[in-house]
Amino acid sequence: MADGAMKSPLVQVRGLKMHFPIHAGLLRRKVGAVKAVDGVSFDIFEGETLGLVGESGCGKSTVGRALLRLYELTEGSVVIDGEDIATLAPDALRKKRPTMQMVFQDPQASLNPRMTVAAIIGEPLDEHTGWDAAKKTARVYELMDQVGLNRRFANRYPHEFSGGQRQRIGIARALALNPKFIVCDEPIAALDVSIQAQVVNLLEDLQDRLGLTYLFISHDLSMVRHIADRVAVMYLGQIAELSPREALYARPLHPYAEALLSAVPEPDPTMESRRQRIILKGDVPSPANPPKGCNFCTRCPKVMAVCREVEPRLAEVEPGRFVACHLFDNNAGGQASPGAEVREHNQQGEQR
């Protein structure tokens, strides 16, 4: 949906926090919390793909799971299609589930080895519809056609399939109940390079045909550039930058986004030999004990005094571009939140 014809947001996340308690000692008292996700807000518009990228441990998968309320949220709201699923009662939540589904990373682990393909794809239908067997079978076949699986394989078991085909089974299961919104949690990470493209193309085709909305979680920045309309870069439980795809890849604003993009190797020897990399020093701090101020201040090449004291807020610094960084304090016009008014100028923008 790059045509600017942005519809209303299908998913609205506000102040999402997901803290996991740490218990220690003889009495297993709570001694702290792992702040896996610590105050994340964003929108996903109808029909778009939002890419969510970051390194392992940054909380991107936790966000994906929290969005479907696979966890009980610590704080914040997740409004999907007009309903806040964070506070829905169990009954109402169950009725809501068909609209939101998930595709998991490991197609081996997320499919029951003792169930046939037909049973796996049909299970959501057993749970959520009162259809008779014939209608269900017809739907299972239809789904298998949609994801490019041969109908003859309906009675086979997951181990008889290759990784790419297994991922197709997982996708068919997610599609069974005609969802509007699908969280794809690293759907291609476990697949070989030559198979990844097949699955990504399938996801794109399905989106076009069925008008799906995706949250595409991945650490593969090149693939996210291909599939996403907008991209959120996470670091240590927070969003560092959220920008439209082209803008982010052409000129990342947040120093972490810049370093992350510069670290991705390009399959082009001539370019690789010329490239100036930003090599970040050290490792990601523990989310149980994040640094004071900006959570990136321990590794940031552009760190300032204020970064170690004051936590930056995510603010719109250019139209459509949200950045949480003190370098852009002047652009943001104080501390705005997503959706706030935009200032016109920016320091780095036009000359490049």
């Binding site: 030559s194 650490h219 920045l221 390009e266």
Partner: protein, 336 residues
Amino acid sequence: MPDGAAPVLDVRGLKTVFRTRGGEIHAVNSVSFHLRPGELLGVVGESGSGKSVTMMSLIGLLPSPPAEVRAGEVLLGGRDLLKLQPRELQEVRGAKVGFVFQDPMTSLNPVFTVGNQIMEPLMKHMGMSKAQAETRAAELLALVGIPDAKKRLKSYPHQFSGGMRQRVMIAIALACDPDVLIADEPTTALDVTIQAQIIELVKELRQKLGMAIVWITHDLGVIAGIADRVMVMYGGQVVEQAPVRELFSNPQHPYTRALLKTVPSLTGERAARLEVIQGQPPILAGEPVACPFRARCAHAFDRCHAENPLRRAIDGRPVGQGHDVACHWSAGGAHG
């Protein structure tokens, strides 16, 4: 890297077979390559292409049975490693050939300190005393960029992060100053920013120590950044081999061409759709009698189904020296 320099490692016609209940799996089929002093050879391929099995066969790391190295020569410093007794081979491993594995978590022993594990090869292969080994181990840790090296010798693997553990693995592999370092997907389990750190480190160490490196990966981007020469493997065979720039600018084998197109770019034009290699990688049962890529190849013709192509040079230089490819279609020059 003068072409004339004698190779440090010369592998000829290596064949490795796994005996399984379902029959023989020919995982490595007549693989030949060499490594010149100070050179970095990149090996690219998907899982199951035989790249790891090739390297493990070289130094007898595969359990036998089921694995059996059926044919070939592996010449290192004038000796054929495949003819050595197990004890002699143990001398070669660690001392002459260093190995860095993909997963730094599982390749370090969790119950020994890091210092202990670096000192082991030093005392075993170099005959150092404990005190000497400790000094050298601290030097090695400092060399791979671990701060406060002396103190960290007493730490256990779980006290290090993933990137740090991979640095420790590299320190162990380098401990005895090997002629050849084999790195099997050393950055695959790491995040990109940490991967960038490790790649920088290896580049730096190469300049300092000048050893020859085999770097196995499925990531064409990593290869583009560090390799001198690239060998592309598919279905247990070398399908194409060329200097790195030549390979990326003038790929010949249909598999290499397709592979380069399926990877989306970070810069440059964004394709509306990704190019796809249809189908699945082959199952390598039985002796290969045809091209392993035939079922997925857009250019396959009769001959591809009847005869397994041999590697053929396309630039007039001997096979292995310049650019060679194992393909009936591209050898015919039909594509211009």
